[in-house]
Every structure is written in C-alpha cells, then in structure tokens.
C-alpha cells in the first residue's frame, strides 16, 4: 500500500499537465493535445544533449539534479490514504518544507550563476514569493499539529477527522490555502503565468531559460511531481480513510483530476496578478492560515472563551 501511494502519485504527476492542457484548450476553443503530450515532450528532451553557457559553473550543472532529487525525496514523505509515508518521523513536515526549499534554493542560485539580468530578476521574485509563502505553510501545519498533538504528517491527517462544524471549516480553509500555496510553489496563476513570452513578466520561466535538453526535462518532471505532491496533500484532507484501498485510490485520482481541472479552469479564466500585487496576495494566505490557527486554538480549547 505504501508503494502504491508513491506509484499513484507518480502516475498522477504524469497525467496532471496533460489534463490541465486539455482543459485549457477546450475552454479556449482549440483542438486539445493528447493527454500524454507533455510526457512525449519530456522524452524528446531526454534524447537531446544539453548546451551550457560559457559563463556558467558547476552550480548551474548540478542544480537540476538537486532539484529533482529533493522533489523525489519529498515524495517519500507524503502519507497516503491513512498510511504512513515511506519515511515518517516526528517533524517530517518541516523536513518536507525545507527539502522543497533546498531544491528551490539551488534553482535560484543557478539562475544567478548565469549572470543574466533577467534571470537574476526572476530569481529575486521567486525568492521573495517563496519567503512569503513559507509562514502560511508552517502556520497551517502548526495548527494541524495542534489538533493532532503530534508533529508528523501521518498524525496530522488522522486527527483531522473529528466531526465538528469547526473542523469542516478548518479543512475547507486549509484546502483553500494549500491549493494556493501549490500555485505559488509551482509558479502558476495568479502569481506567475507559465505561458508568458516576455521575460520582464516571467518569474519561474525566466529562471530556467538557459536550460536545455536533459536538464530541462528534469526540471519539468520535478514541477509535475510537485503538483502531484500538493494534490496529494489536499486529497488527504478529503479521503475517507475507512474506505477500502481500491476505492481510496480511485478517489485519489478523481481528486487529482479535479485539482488539475481547477488549475486549468483558473488559468483559462483568470489573468495574472500585477507583479506589485503578488506579495499582498501571498501574505493573505498567511493571514488566513493564522485564522485557521486561531480556530485550532478554539477547538482544542487552548482558548478559554465563554
């Protein structure tokens, strides 16, 4: 079951970008690409060699590998369907966050390494957004930990299924916040637009401009995996753990599909925020996470209110 979880997540990661692309094409009135088109693209990229700029150094070359490795390691931490992750220990969600941060850090440093002004700018923005989104994630996880009285992913999710009105509210808000954290972490709308063609308005895309071939393929796969990981985090809020395994796996794919659809729909209908508005958008997530935290204090009766 544990390995089934990881395999499901990888499968979900493979189809996730395809679904999003299909939704966007349908909404835009275009002919939809095949579901696995992004996979074909990556396979094609794997067959190509990489070209490196003369100004870049070692960091630039190892960054995609570190990024990929960190995301794969994160994959092992995620609990699935009421089971522990392959690696599960107290405080693993902190490890989770900083593994992701490590990958991101390498990408940022690599972007600086190229010496391109555009890439430096993109790195700057990426760093800012990651920094702003971090408190939201930790406050959210902290409030869940308060429920659970434990600080590992597995317990957090188990304890959430206390049936009160407020825990529904927390779950909904937590899903909302997590979904947007996923969008920020993956550099999608409304913070960043992956389709933009102007370097000045790019965030994540501009950082990877200099990568090609094998490295670019790794980066793409890592991005999909990240989406799938956050999708799993959300799915864990919704999955009823008492169902049989096959039903849970089916539900899991349904939820991932739903998440991909929402992302696709959002990207079709919504415009990207103005750059200057991004920080306030992201800090709002933290504000709402704090409210979740206060709710947790009320539910666990750490607050003595009458």
């Amino acid at each position: 079951m544990v390995w089934i979880g990881v395999i499901s997540m990888i499968l979900a990661a493979l189809i996730f970008p395809g679904i999003t692309a299909i939704i966007k094409a349908k909404v835009g009135g275009r002919k939809a690409p095949p579901l696995l088109q992004p996979v074909y693209d990556v396979v094609r990229l794997f067959k190509k060699g990489a070209v490196y700029s003369a100004t870049t150094g070692l960091i630039f070359r190892i960054a995609p590998l570190v990024y990929f490795a960190s995301v794969v390691a994160v994959l092992l931490l995620i609990p699935f369907g009421g089971q522990k992750g392959i690696l599960s220990f107290a405080g693993d969600f902190v490890f989770f966050a900083y593994l992701l941060a490590l990958g991101k850090f390498m990408m940022i440093v690599a972007a600086m390494d190229t010496g391109s002004g555009f890439e430096g700018m993109g790195a700057n923005r990426e760093a800012l957004y990651s920094m702003l989104v971090e408190p939201a994630f930790f406050i959210l996880m902290g409030s869940l930990a308060l429920f659970a009285g434990s600080i590992s992913f597995y317990d957090l999710y188990l304890s959430l299924h206390i049936q009160t009105h407020l825990s529904y509210l927390t779950a909904v808000t937590a899903i909302y916040v997590l979904a947007y954290i996923a969008m920020v972490e993956n550099s999608r709308l409304p913070v960043d637009d992956p389709k933009t063609h102007l370097e000045l308005t790019m965030v994540h895309e501009v950082m990877v401009l200099d990568y090609s071939g094998f490295d670019l393929a790794l980066i793409n796969i890592s991005n999909w995996l990240k989406f799938s990981i956050f999708g799993t985090l959300i799915a864990n809020f919704l999955l009823p753990f008492y169902l049989p395994h096959y039903a849970q796996i089916l539900l899991f794919f349904l939820i991932q599909f739903g998440f991909a659809t929402v992302v696709g729909g959002l990207e079709s209908f919504r415009a990207r925020n103005k750059m200057a508005k991004n920080p306030q958008f992201i800090i709002t997530l933290s504000a709402i996470a704090i409210l979740v935290f206060l709710t947790a204090l009320i539910i666990t009766e750490k607050f003595s209110l009458n």
């Binding site: 407020l166 808000t173 508005k277 920080p279 306030q280 409210l291 206060l294 607050f303 209110l305």
Partner: protein
C-alpha cells in the same frame, strides 16, 4: 456553530484589507450582516418572537439588504470603482489586520470575566479597531462610510458580548438612529461628490485658518 460564523467574520475583515474595489466592500458588508444574524441566531436561547423579529430586521433586513442597496446606489451615483487612495500599501494592511485579530483573540483569552461572553469579544474588538484603521488609511469619503459600518458591526457584536440589557424600545431607537445616520451620511456624500467632483478628502481641507 457560533465560532463558525465568528471565524468567517474575521476572514471578511482580512478581505476588507485586501480588496480595493468599492463593489467588493459592499458585498462584504452584506455578508457581514448575514454572518451577524448567524451569530445571534445560534445564541438565542429560549427566545421571544419579538426579540427574534427585531434581530432579523436589524441584521438581515437593515445590515445586509437596506444598507448595501443604498450604498450601491451611492456608488453608482458617484461612479466609484476603485479606491486608489490608500495611504498604506495593502501588504501592510493585511499584516495589521492579522495582528489586530490575533491581539483581540488573545485579549479575550486572558479576560476571564464571567459576565462577558468573550467569544464575541474576540472579533468585536478587532472589528472596531479595524474600522478605525480603515477610516484612517483611506482618503475617500465612501470608504470612510464603509469603515463606520465596520465599527457599527463591531459594536453590535460587543453588545452581544456584554449581553446588553438595553430595553427593546431603546434598542429600536438606537437602530433607527444608526440607520438615519448612514442615510444622511450617504446623502451628504452625494453632495460632496457633486460639489467637489471628487470623493477624496483632500478636497475637504479649506476650513483651516
């Protein structure tokens, strides 16, 4: 269930800080009216019909129907769309409102007063302070009215918190007074924008000697 509404109410406060569209302010005020009704409704014990009707009129009818419709009329009259004039970037406003909410939650935690229902206190204090803050940072008369209404909502919650013993007749007079006040403020706002071709308070600074 009360907490459910209280938490959603505090989320609306965050969105007040976030949004810059006048229309959104009005929608948020209407939502707050409904939330207030929810808060009261789940707190009425064995309730007299008269009291229930009064609460219904005060929250649903006045706070979330009459006032928003009136505000919308004022908004359309003055062609207001966005509020550009905030003196402090939204980013900091969100931090401020969050700090206010946390502060007022923690204050009510440490209150320990038998007579005061501290669960309302949490968001009431935040609402009043945020209303004042809202008035200070905006330089537009319409937003000032919105801030006033946020304060009023906070005071409504406060009256729940202290379990006010104000007689019904007087309560009704208070409601009528507030409503009249809002209407008169709205009418004067129309006058201001007709006269000064703007709703910015920068225009209103000729009286200094």
């Amino acid at each position: 269930m009360t907490y459910f509404f209280i938490i959603i109410y505090s989320i609306t406060l965050v969105y007040f800080a976030l949004s810059e569209r006048v229309k959104k302010f009005i929608v948020l005020l209407a939502i707050q009216g409904v939330l207030l009704f929810g808060i009261v409704f789940f707190n009425l014990g064995q309730v007299a019909l008269g009291e229930f009707l009064f609460v219904l009129v005060e929250t649903i009818v006045v706070k979330s129907v009459v006032i928003p419709i009136f505000l919308n009329k004022v908004r359309r009259n003055n062609g207001l769309k966005r509020v550009h004039e905030t003196e402090i970037p939204v980013f900091y406003s969100i931090i401020v409102v969050t700090v206010m909410l946390m502060g007022s939650f923690f204050v009510s935690n440490y209150l320990h007063n038998e007579q005061i229902h501290t669960k309302f206190f949490t968001v009431a204090i935040a609402s009043v302070f945020f209303g004042i803050y809202f008035i200070i940072i905006h330089k537009n008369v319409f937003s000032h009215l919105v801030g006033y209404l946020i304060i009023e909502n906070g005071i409504f919650l406060l009256s729940l918190a202290v379990g006010s013993e104000i007689p019904m007749l007087v309560n009704f007079a208070v409601l009528l007074d507030v409503l009249m006040g809002v209407l008169v403020i709205g009418i004067f706002m129309n006058r201001v924008s007709d006269r000064f071709q703007s709703t910015s308070i920068d225009e209103l600074a000729k009286l200094k000697d």
